[in-house]
């Protein structure tokens, strides 16, 4: 088509006397520049749109979640008398009872059974654990009073943070008028305040929002990622090097290549099913553990790493291979001495992408039991654990209002984890790049 237009242009120029080529160029120049400008504007618009979405997302997460880093605590003076603590086995003392007595001491005018129960519910059940810990650490001698800042119940916390309104009718809020009055008494006595929520960063999951923390999930994610990295990086790179450098080009390798490319697009839950069938049922590995989770995520990550690594290997200039071969390197020496170091930054990029994917994955973990409610903080690769995205999912599913902000806070922690993981990889990549 272009040929015919130039042909007709040539003919018309011949008929209308001499038309210089430069005039034709000049005529088209304006529209060419216009096109370029339009193209740049499109690009800029898409950048702005994505920046706006990202800013909106991040600000809504931060806005919803920042309050989870604070928690309402109530100061309680707990009188501990001799006999209250079990002499033989202090662990088995009735700490709940001691706390309740202390609460009753502070509010002497509350006597009715129904009222006391409401009163107790202002305080978190974690108060007794806190007291137990303190007593076990330094056993009291004789009669003393232990002063404690104990966490308030999540409803009180919501009230203090302004998520619950005080001036609505009693039936429309979760705290009764009486409870409000008690809280006001605590406020006037300056015995209730918001403090930094260390529990959130040190505890595992809990049914009580004020006692729930992300640390268990962080550790679970950490162990899972370690397993994934340790398995997928060497396997992925070895597979890529073999396919790219050693494998003969035949139907078998073509078949493998097609399958690897397809595996990268397989829905991740399928890998979960595979993990359930193979690792749990056939090999009998422990359920809900980072070990199995890591292996399943490794399966999911491998295609990504292999594809990126092969691209990186392909991008190594052939002149370097020739140079090394030309002075008498063997094939392996060429690969380990020249090709791999040059391809390593690209391989690391692929690994970062794969690991980031794995970190945010929940679907394959559903199948191998990593969505369980796990309170304990995992101490190793074979302890039952949850991972961060699963924890977020579980909290987002919980009805308590206090879990809303914790969900957002957990997302922030997940993002921080992701950013620091990527930062490590970027630093490593930079170091390898500088060496070469």
């Amino acid at each position: 088509m272009s040929k015919s237009t130039t042909g007709s242009a040539a003919r018309s120029s011949a008929s209308s006397g001499r038309v210089k080529t430069i005039d034709i160029v000049n005529k088209g120049l304006k529209s060419r520049y216009r096109k370029e400008k339009r193209f740049r504007v499109y690009g800029l618009l898409s950048i702005i749109a994505s920046a706006v979405f990202l800013a909106f997302l991040l600000s809504s997460i931060v806005f919803n979640g920042y309050s989870a880093f604070l928690q309402t605590y109530i100061k309680l003076d707990v009188p501990v008398k001799t006999g209250m603590i079990n002499e033989q086995n202090p662990r088995r003392s009735d700490f709940q009872g001691i706390i309740k007595a202390a609460i009753r001491d502070y509010f002497p005018d509350v006597t009715e059974r129904k009222d006391t129960r409401e009163l107790y519910s202002i305080f978190s059940s974690g108060a007794a654990f806190q007291l137990r810990e303190k007593v076990l650490k330094n056993p009291p001698e004789g009669d003393t009073t232990i002063s404690l800042w104990v966490p308030a119940d999540d409803d009180v916390d919501m009230l203090m943070k302004g998520h619950m309104k005080r001036d609505v009718p009693e039936s429309e809020r979760r705290l009764s008028d009486k409870q409000l009055r008690w809280i006001e008494k605590l406020e006037t006595d300056k015995r209730i305040e918001k403090r930094f929520n260390t529990t959130f960063f040190t505890a595992g999951d809990s049914r009580e929002p004020e006692l729930a923390g992300i640390w268990g999930a962080v550790k679970g994610s950490f162990y899972t990622m370690i397993v994934t990295l340790v398995l997928s990086f060497p396997i992925g790179i070895a597979a890529a090097v073999y396919l790219e450098e050693f494998a003969p080009k035949n139907i078998a390798t073509d078949f493998i290549e097609v399958n690897i490319n397809n595996l990268a697009a397989v829905p991740s839950i399928v890998f979960g099913l595979l993990g359930l069938a193979v690792f749990l049922n056939f090999f009998g590995m422990p359920r809900s553990t980072p070990l199995v989770g890591g292996i399943v995520l490794m399966l999911m990550t491998l295609p990504t790493i292999i594809i990126a690594s092969r691209a990186a290997l392909k991008a190594v200039p052939p002149s370097i291979r020739e140079a090394a071969l030309g002075v008498g390197s063997s094939k392996l020496q060429v690969i380990t001495g020249h090709v791999l170091p040059l391809a390593l930054p690209g391989m690391l990029t692929g690994t970062i992408i794969g690991m980031a994917q794995a970190l945010g994955e929940t679907a394959p973990l559903l199948m191998i039991g990593m969505v369980a409610f796990i309170v304990d903080i995992p101490g190793g690769f074979t302890d039952p654990a949850a991972v961060m995205p699963v924890q977020i999912y579980l909290w987002a599913d919980s009805p308590e209002r206090a879990f809303v902000e914790r969900t957002s806070a957990a997302i922030m922690v997940l993002l921080a984890f992701l950013v620091s993981m990527n930062a490590v990889a970027v630093i490593m990549r930079k170091r390898f790049e500088r060496r070469w």
């Binding site: 052939p318 002149s319 140079a323 071969l325 030309g326 002075v327 008498g328 020249h338 070469w436």
Partner: protein, 286 residues
């Protein structure tokens, strides 16, 4: 027709090596000591890329310690032939050869020939300077290290000797630890020559070594070839006919995969026997 003593000797050599080409040695004053033996000899040697015959049934002897230039239009098979000598074509999966090509009486494509050892003896310098992204010292020391030299003092000696031979020593002796990629194009190419010389090859294959260089750097490389002449068997592929006539003792002219003419350079450029050769060297080529 009168024959000089050298020509006689060359004819004898040609007769012994069974090739159907007549080979002449250059005039007495250009003769090289201990040179003139067939170092690489091709017999009915063809190179294929799949179905395509890139080099067709070549019969030729490359004489030791002389400089042989290979000229011809693009795609005529001259680089393919050069790369076949140290089996660089092995990197191309579809490439295979028929006939034989011998190096020092050993079949280059023989079943028991080790290509790593072969490439140590037949070094190659490529069209584009391709130093490793390492220091100048490590670039030169890379080859010797591969072949088992680890003593620091010996390595330093080898590096100095190689750089001296490649006429680069004076320019880089104060910055051996700098990255080789910081050198200019001409220096990089001489570094590549030095790197090849460091493993003490017997043959030096130069594949258009100056096509990416400016005239000044080209002159330095040509001087270098002149320096090395007599110590190494040198094969140089070039597009530049002046360069071929300046640096070489013999010239091969390839055309469409055929070795059309192979003769002493002076004779080929002044009195070509073949019409195609004449057309090519006089630029009357369509």
């Amino acid at each position: 027709m009168q024959m000089t003593a050298g020509e006689k000797e060359a004819r004898e050599v040609a007769a012994k090596s069974d090739t159907n080409r007549e080979i002449f040695l250059p005039p007495e004053r250009q003769r090289v000591k201990d040179g003139g033996k067939p170092h690489v000899s091709a017999k009915n040697f063809s190179i294929f890329y799949g179905d395509f015959e890139a080099v067709k049934k070549v019969n030729a002897d490359i004489l030791s310690k002389y400089v042989t230039a290979i000229i011809g239009p693009s795609g005529c098979g001259k680089s393919t032939f050069l790369r076949a000598i140290n089996r660089m074509n092995d990197l191309i999966p579809s490439c295979y050869t028929t006939g034989t090509i011998m190096f020092d009486g050993e079949d280059i494509y023989g079943r028991f020939t080790d290509e790593v050892q072969l490439r140590k003896k037949i070094g190659m310098v490529f069209q584009k300077p391709n130093p490793f992204p390492k220091s100048i010292f490590d670039n030169i020391a890379y080859g010797p290290r591969l072949h088992g030299v680890n003593d620091k003092k010996t390595l330093e000696e080898i590096v100095e000797k190689s750089l001296l031979k490649a006429a680069l020593w004076d320019e880089v002796k104060d910055r051996l630890d700098r990255n080789a990629l910081g050198l200019s194009g001409g220096q990089q190419q001489r570094l590549c020559v030095a790197r090849t010389l460091a493993v003490e090859p017997e043959i030096l294959l130069l594949d258009e070594p100056t096509s990416a260089l400016d005239p000044k750097a080209t002159a330095k490389i040509e001087d270098l070839i002149e320096e090395l002449r007599g110590s190494y068997t040198i094969l140089i592929v070039t597009h530049n006919m002046q360069q071929a006539s300046r640096v070489s003792d013999y010239t091969m002219f390839y055309y469409e995969g055929d070795l059309v003419e192979y003769a002493p350079t002076k004779q080929l450029f002044t009195n070509p026997r073949d019409q195609v050769t004449e057309d090519y060297i006089t630029g009357r080529f369509s």
